[in-house]
């Protein structure tokens, strides 16, 4: 078999964190610039080395803040990149762009950033949903935003394959148990029992508060470069072995894939094919958990368990700390912080770099040092999906 030249050609070389949670006095832009500056510093490069800057989709800022554009992030960082990009409506194209640009030689060091002050802005993720009808035409029926979109998908899955809160509780609780090991996680000091899960109030039924991602202030960024360059930098690189993206695109009102064969299926097949790995090679999972149901669907579409069979999969606690298939080891979007797919991608990278402190796989009791970590990213209402397989330098 001919090796795909994109396998392992690029790597994550640096990660930028910021303060995160409820922060009363910061603009969204300030979190972008801080996360980017920290990622540049962590990679051990100069800011002028950055020749590509991508920012995730940004949300409307308060009227007393500037609109966030990649121009403005570049301006604040004092850089003049050759390539600028900002995703629209969550299409998760960053890694396709980054790997292609690095492989082609058009870029050498790429920064990817996401930031928001969602708590300060009192964001409820209503205006951010994308539907085929004008806003008022569905809002007249009381349809608002993304929680409901995923709630409708989750409800259909309960009907079709029997999944439900007895599966989703494990996703919420195991993710929280990991957050309890991560001092950076917003829910670090809050444990979650099964009663806590079931007692959390419905937002849009069948989704409870603890089925939903956090809303927080803060930012996250990472530097991606060619693996050859990354080898000369200070961090042990997290190599991108495989990427796959798929955009089924249909909004949830017209979706025919809300319970199976979502973008996760094709994206994971593409990524595993490029990476030349199978399920048994994967040491840890970092699964985009905007809602618990998203994880349930993603894992079935990825082929980890059949649709509706989540209880059998989760019952042995394999995804909890100390389990044999750790998942969302930072606490994920549910219990660490919401930085779109960068929460997952940066956690996958920091684990491979061996810098995850108390929650470090291979150090924490009952875990082994990871060589291959699968990360997922998903956007809009299941309309876009990216699967990324990261590996240690030994996997090349």
């Amino acid at each position: 078999m001919i090796k795909n030249p994109l396998r392992g050609c690029s790597a994550i070389a640096g990660i930028g964190y910021t303060e995160q949670g409820k922060i009363a006095n910061r603009t969204a832009l300030s979190f972008h610039t801080e996360a980017c500056a920290n990622a540049i510093k962590d990679a051990g490069i100069k800011k002028d080395d950055i020749d590509g800057l991508f920012i995730y989709r940004h949300f409307n800022t308060r009227s007393n803040e500037p609109d966030i554009t990649p121009y403005l992030v570049a301006q604040q960082l004092g850089i003049k990149p050759d390539y600028l990009s900002e995703e629209a409506n969550c299409a998760r194209s960053h890694l396709y762009n980054a790997v292609s640009l690095l492989y082609s030689g058009l870029c050498k060091y790429i920064l990817i950033s996401y930031a928001d002050n969602a708590l300060l802005s009192k964001r409820t993720f209503v205006d951010e949903a994308t539907h085929g009808e004008p806003f008022g035409d569905v809002a007249a029926f009381g349809q608002f935003g993304l929680v409901s979109a995923y709630a409708m998908a989750a409800r259909r899955a309960m009907f079709e394959n029997g999944t439900g809160p007895n599966v989703w509780k494990h996703i919420a609780m195991s993710t929280r148990a990991w957050a309890n090991l991560n001092p950076r996680a917003i829910m670090h000091r809050k444990v979650m029992s099964e009663d806590d899960y079931f007692n959390s109030k419905y937002i849009v039924e069948p989704l409870r508060l603890f089925d939903c991602a956090l809303i927080n202030d803060g930012g996250r960024a990472c530097v991606i470069t060619t693996t050859e360059r990354a080898k000369d930098l200070k961090n042990s690189p997290a190599v991108i072995l495989g990427i796959g993206q798929s955009n089924p695109s249909y909004d949830i009102h017209q979706s025919f894939y809300m319970t199976k064969n979502s973008g996760a299926k094709r994206a994971s097949e593409l990524a595993m094919h490029m990476a030349k790995v199978t399920h048994k090679d994967i040491d840890a999972l970092q699964i985009y958990d905007c809602f618990t149901y998203t994880v349930d669907l993603t894992l079935s579409d990825y082929g980890f368990y059949d649709y509706g069979h989540g209880e059998e999969f989760f019952n042995d606690k394999k995804t909890y700390p100390g389990g044999r298939l750790p998942m969302n080891t930072s606490g994920g979007l549910l219990s660490e912080a919401y930085f779109m797919g960068l929460t997952q991608l940066t956690e996958g990278a920091i684990q491979l770099m061996g810098r995850a402190e108390e929650r470090q796989l291979g150090v924490l009791n009952g875990t082994k040092k990871p060589n291959i970590v699968l990360c997922s990213d998903n956007g809009a209402a299941l309309q876009t999906h990216n699967c990324t397989i990261l590996g240690s330098i030994d996997t090349l």
Binding site: D137, A140, A151, E205
Partner: protein, 138 residues
């Protein structure tokens, strides 16, 4: 009524809302492949034909899925909590977002048969809502 949200017809969707006003559920049907489409589209997403006719749906179908709001994202829905939003799969094909009325939320199930009922908001606006078709017991 305070600050309620109403549909905002545009040049292309006006026929649908005008139909609702007259208690008719109208959709575009492709003249070439017969596909009945929603949302409004200048062409057929199945065959890309621009030729279509407007047909009237019989207004029957089933609940494909639904969700129950326990949180009001807009003040006009506060007093309606908890309320449902459902996706209706119509017999002609289109999936339409609406509400199921005249039932308790705990009576809702996917696949329940429903039929359209028009709710007149005022002289100009009617919303197509749905009620469950109760099975006749002998």
């Amino acid at each position: 009524m305070k600050n309620i949200i109403l549909p905002t017809p545009n040049e292309e969707t006006e026929f649908f809302w005008e139909g609702c006003k007259h208690h008719k559920l109208l959709f575009q049907k492709c003249n070439d492949c017969g596909f009945v489409r929603w949302p409004v589209n200048i062409l057929c997403p199945e065959c890309l034909s621009f030729n279509y006719s407007i047909i009237e749906s019989k207004g029957r179908g089933f609940i494909f899925t639904y969700a129950i709001y326990h949180y009001a994202y807009h003040e006009s829905f506060k007093e309606k909590l908890p309320y449902n939003v459902a996706i209706i799969k119509l017999n002609e094909g289109p999936m339409l977002l609406s509400n199921i009325i005249d039932c308790n939320n705990d009576e809702l199930t996917c696949e329940s048969p429903v039929e359209v009922v028009f709710e007149d908001i005022d002289d100009e606006v009617s919303l197509p809502k749905f009620k469950i078709i109760k099975k006749i017991k002998f």
